[in-house]
């Protein structure tokens, strides 16, 4: 379980997030929705440790944890970026095995076997030796998911998972996320697409612009 308590984030004098409380239960999907500019992505960036919060705390299974400084080998948060941010100079297989071998110190064989399982699971068996530029948008997204899962995170976060894809792929993404839920994955999905959020989420969290609060 991931809990956020009284999280506040400011950029200079602008307060983006104020005293925010949020709980994500194990194995559930939380959708963070709201209009653009409301701070959805900022919130996600705080959860994933890309921004330092000004106040508040994060708890994982009741234990305090700071995503911003977390450099231990216990993977907590995995991220799938809006533009996927695959490494263009590495093949699909290398994209997935890079962090497990360099950070988790897995052997090349171990990392590859584990990556192969993920590739098969995500329908990417034939793409292992291709480079990101050779993939379709949907394939890139699945590689990004596989790369995050290879680090065995407790929570997997998505930033606008439907926005960089063809509109008719939305259902595919829904199936994919629900499939991972069936595997027991805890997920946070930031999206501005309400229908999409309603289709997948166990719980919805609405971020509103500060002025209306």
């Amino acid at each position: 379980m991931l809990e956020l308590k009284n999280i506040t984030k400011q950029f200079g004098s602008r307060t983006i997030i104020k005293d925010l409380n949020l709980t994500v239960k194990d194995g559930e999907i939380l959708s963070i929705v709201g209009p653009s500019g409301a701070g959805k992505t900022t919130l996600l960036r705080c959860i994933t440790g890309l921004e330092k919060v000004n106040a508040g705390e994060f708890l994982v299974d009741g234990k305090a944890f700071d995503p911003y400084t977390n450099r231990s080998n216990d993977s907590v948060i995995g991220v799938v970026f809006q533009n996927f941010e695959l490494f263009p100079n590495l093949t699909v297989m290398q994209n997935i095995t890079l962090a497990p071998t360099m950070v988790l110190k897995q052997s090349a064989n171990e990392a590859q076997e584990q990556a192969q399982v993920l590739l098969d699971r995500l329908d990417l068996t034939d793409q292992a030796d291709q480079y990101p530029f050779q993939l379709s948008g949907g394939q890139k997204q699945r590689v990004a998911i596989a790369r995050a899962l290879a680090m065995k995170p407790n929570v997997l976060c998505y930033d606008e998972p439907t926005s960089a894809l063809d509109p008719n792929l939305r259902e595919e993404v829904e199936k994919l996320i629900l499939g991972l839920k069936a595997d027991g994955m805890t997920q946070i999905v930031v999206t501005h697409d309400l229908t999409f959020a309603e289709n997948i989420a166990d719980d919805m969290f609405k971020v509103e612009t500060n002025k209306t609060k």
């Binding site: 994933t48 440790g49 890309l50 977390n70 450099r71 993977s75 948060i77 995995g78 991220v79 970026f81 533009n83 941010e85 695959l86 490494f87 263009p88 100079n89 590495l90 890079l98 962090a99 360099m102 950070v103 480079y131 990101p132 530029f133 790369r147 995050a148 680090m151």
Partner: protein, 213 residues
Amino acid sequence: MHYILEILPSLLSGAGMTLKIFIWTLIGSLPLGLVVGLGLMSNIKPLQWLLNFYVWLMRGTPLLLQLIFVFYGLPLIGIVFPRYYAALFAFILNYAAYFAEIFRGGLQSIDSGQYESARVLRLSYVQTIRKIVIPQVIKIVLPSVGNEVINLVKDSSLVYVIGLGDLLRAGNVATARDVTLVPLVLVAVIYLLLTAVTTFILGRIEKHYSSWK
């Protein structure tokens, strides 16, 4: 033909000096340029000022002048280089400044998302630079670096000013002695051969990096 064979040994020995300066300058200035390029992007202001001053000094004065200062000037303050090492010292410092600017441009064109996705995978700074940033930067800067490399083949002829016997000087000596342009024609042919080989090698490297985009 007989005359050509007669002067060829001295031209080839000059070409040897040209090659030696060419190769050692590249070996010294490419890594130094990369380090300076990374330093130019650092947040430490004094370091930035220092490196900017160095780049300005090196690019703002003629290489010929720098050679003269290193060989005739530095001994005045007690630093004495033998001719050959004075030439290498000046060339490496000069070329590293140009390479640093090229690398800085390459480094700046790497999307911040690449650093962020490496960060959430918990790769260290050094791992990120080595495995993700440098390969992408090399691909981006190859054409500009190639230009400088070709320039270096010909710039090496400036070492005549501190009395080193390179290819052009060997040709000049023969031309002055025998009152004929034949040696200089040969010099031109040898330079063209050197740049042809360099161009070929650069092409192979570019091809190596063309497997991904």
